[in-house]
């Protein structure tokens, strides 16, 4: 379930209240079910031979399960490269995401790209396994540009594949 779908859920609940309070919509329940069922992010296409499916410029792409930021794929970079003119952070947080193609769990390193203002495109907050700041290994709220030579100016986030997880 993507962040957008999840947020839509919040909206739907707010709607339900407004509806019942104001009696605006007689069929509020139907609306809510309808929204929940609406395929907001239906894209799923396989990359021939790569063992991956999905669109890396969309928030529902499998590697982004624990991300929070702007997707570098929309900013001049890729899932494993920073846009021109930026600097890659050297330390970062990691997440474990399941690749739907092979059903395996992979370790993903969400390195930030730094030294240019926030790209502002493809905002993506998924937060699966995200932990508060004192759990630095798993905290996506931290501006990880802190560890880069460009210092703390944040541009976008990558999702670099590190290897298969053997479980935790």
């Amino acid at each position: 379930m993507s962040a957008i779908d999840k947020w839509m859920e919040t909206f739907s609940r707010l709607l339900a209240r407004q509806s019942s309070r104001r009696s605006f919509l007689a069929t509020a329940g139907a609306f809510i079910i309808g929204v929940g069922a609406a395929p907001l992010l239906p894209v799923a296409r396989a990359h021939a031979g790569t063992g991956e499916e999905g669109d890396p410029t969309r928030c529902d792409y499998w590697r982004y399960c624990a991300i929070d930021g702007f997707l570098c794929t929309c900013c001049g970079g890729t899932t494993s490269s920073c846009p021109p003119g930026t600097v890659a952070s050297s330390v970062t947080w990691v997440g474990t995401c399941r690749n739907p193609t092979d059903g395996k769990d992979y370790i993903i390193s969400y390195n930030d790209c730094c030294g240019r203002s926030g790209c502002g495109r493809c905002t993506c907050q998924r937060d699966e396994g995200d932990r508060p700041l004192y759990r630095t290994d798993s905290a996506n709220d931290i501006n990880w540009c802190a560890g880069s030579s460009a210092d703390i100016v944040y541009n976008c986030s990558t999702a670099v594949l590190m290897g298969v997880s053997t479980g935790d």
């Binding site: 379930m1 962040a3 957008i4 999840k6 947020w7 839509m8 859920e9 919040t10 909206f11 739907s12 609940r13 707010l14 709607l15 209240r17 407004q18 509806s19 605006f24 919509l25 609306f31 809510i32 309808g34 929204v35 609406a38 907001l40 929070d68 702007f70 330390v91 030294g115 240019r116 203002s117 926030g118 790209c119 502002g120 905002t123 907050q125 998924r126 937060d127 699966e128 396994g129 995200d130 932990r131 508060p132 700041l133 004192y134 759990r135 630095t136 905290a139 709220d141 931290i142 501006n143 802190a146 560890g147 460009a150 210092d151 703390i152 100016v153 944040y154």
Partner: protein
């Protein structure tokens, strides 16, 4: 100055007649001061600027009038303001790069005059301040308002101490494994550590750490971590966990200890996925000992997504005494401390009505969630939960609230 000056003179000599009795009188341009009077319902909104986090701000609003009173420009990714009651000054943690986003970095603790909002002191500190999506608890004031403690992260963890009486940087201390800052006495602060303990540090008159006491882990950082935002009730600090438990710690003794663990949720509510939401989900109304919690329903990974309800608890009895629904998806709440308390909500208000967005979705139209919301300040009666007013366009990305 040939052409320009002739045009300029034309402009300056614009044909104006002397004012007569029944005409509007000419005015003189001047600069406002922040008005006097009760500040019970004033609120500082911390704006992280969304993609423009080179340009963060702190915006001051009068919630009764729904009026903006002024703003500070606080540079790159600020951590909101600190409000020492003894001086009334406004203290901001500011970061600048010499060339906007590049070049050497300079961090300041800037002290602003509360009436003119002009800088009184710009105290340069080591350029190592931690920046995170959560602005809360990145710095703290000692209870006597004398010292500011700041969390640093490079990712080495240290703490900077600034003296607000002498307006100077005091020292940077290693604080391995420990970060966020919670005041706990005139010259004492607590640091939240990765092993789930609170370390106590006592400062002397010069801001030097003269006593350190390690705490014991008071929660399980893997099974049920607490968020770093916490609230104070007397000598206690109240932390909330992702599973909806309050870890209430007693900070009165040298060693910080868990006083009790209690639940915001029934087992059924917990099973349904209720938990707190947003970046600043707790607020305490001191007089009546009430805890206001911003709530949402959803899987654990949504613990920072906006909440849509406020539940009110009696801190002494742990009973839920009230609850009310919010008008908009909300990222932070605060409550006022006067006799007629209000609840502030930093929300993401939709730019068109909710129902129309749902209707559009059902009609197969696509739109992006973040495109259809704008930050607003919602004001509720704290007792009845009634929405009193919504103030639009308060920020680009409002994640924190602080009451003077």
């Amino acid at each position: 100055m040939r052409v320009w000056s002739s045009i300029a003179i034309a402009a300056l000599m614009l044909v104006m007649a002397p004012a007569t009795a029944d005409e509007l009188q000419p005015e003189t341009l001047h600069v406002e001061k922040v008005p006097d009077g009760p500040r019970d319902h004033w609120i500082w909104i911390g704006d992280l600027g969304a993609q423009h986090n080179v340009d963060t701000r702190a915006m001051l609003f009068d919630a009764d009038k729904g009026k903006m009173l002024g703003m500070l420009s606080t540079g790159f990714w600020s951590a909101g303001v600190l409000l020492p009651k003894s001086t009334g000054n406004v203290v901001a943690l500011e970061t600048f790069f010499e060339k906007g986003t590049r070049g050497p970095r300079h961090d300041y603790v800037t002290v602003y005059d509360p009436r003119t909002l002009l800088p009184l002191h710009e105290i340069e500190v080591p350029p190592r301040r931690m920046t995170a999506l959560v602005q809360t608890r990145m710095a703290g004031l000692t209870d006597d308002d004398r010292f500011v403690a700041i969390t640093n992260f490079t990712p080495r963890q240290t703490m900077t101490i600034v003296d607000l009486q002498k307006n100077r940087f005091v020292a940077e201390t290693d604080t391995p494994g420990c970060g966020q800052i919670y005041p706990a006495g005139p010259r004492r602060i607590l640091l939240l550590c990765g092993d789930a303990s609170l370390k106590s540090m006592v400062l002397d008159d010069n801001g030097k750490v003269v006593k350190q006491t390690d705490g014991k882990p008071f929660f399980d950082p893997f099974a049920d971590p607490v968020i770093v935002h916490a609230v104070r009730a007397g000598d206690d600090w109240l932390f909330v966990s992702l599973a909806g438990y309050i870890y209430q710690v007693d900070a009165s003794g040298d060693e910080v200890k868990l006083r009790e663990k209690w639940s915001l949720l029934t087992d059924g509510e917990r099973a349904d996925g209720w938990r707190t939401g947003g970046y600043q989900p707790l607020a305490v109304q001191k007089k009546d000992g009430l805890l206001y919690a911003l709530m949402r329903k959803g899987p654990e990974s949504t613990y920072e997504e906006p909440g849509d309800a406020v539940w009110v608890f009696d801190i002494a009895t742990h009973k839920r005494v009230a609850e009310f629904d919010l008008a908009n998806a909300t990222l932070a709440i605060e409550v006022s401390q006067d006799a007629n308390p209000i609840v502030y909500g930093a929300s993401m208000k939709t730019v068109v009505p909710y129902w129309s967005l749902v209707a559009l979705t059902l009609l197969g139209q696509k739109f992006e969630q973040l495109d259809v919301v704008k930050p607003a300040l919602d004001v509720y009666d704290a007792k009845s939960g009634k929405l009193l007013r919504t103030v639009d366009h308060v920020a680009s990305f409002a994640t924190s609230l602080k009451q003077p």
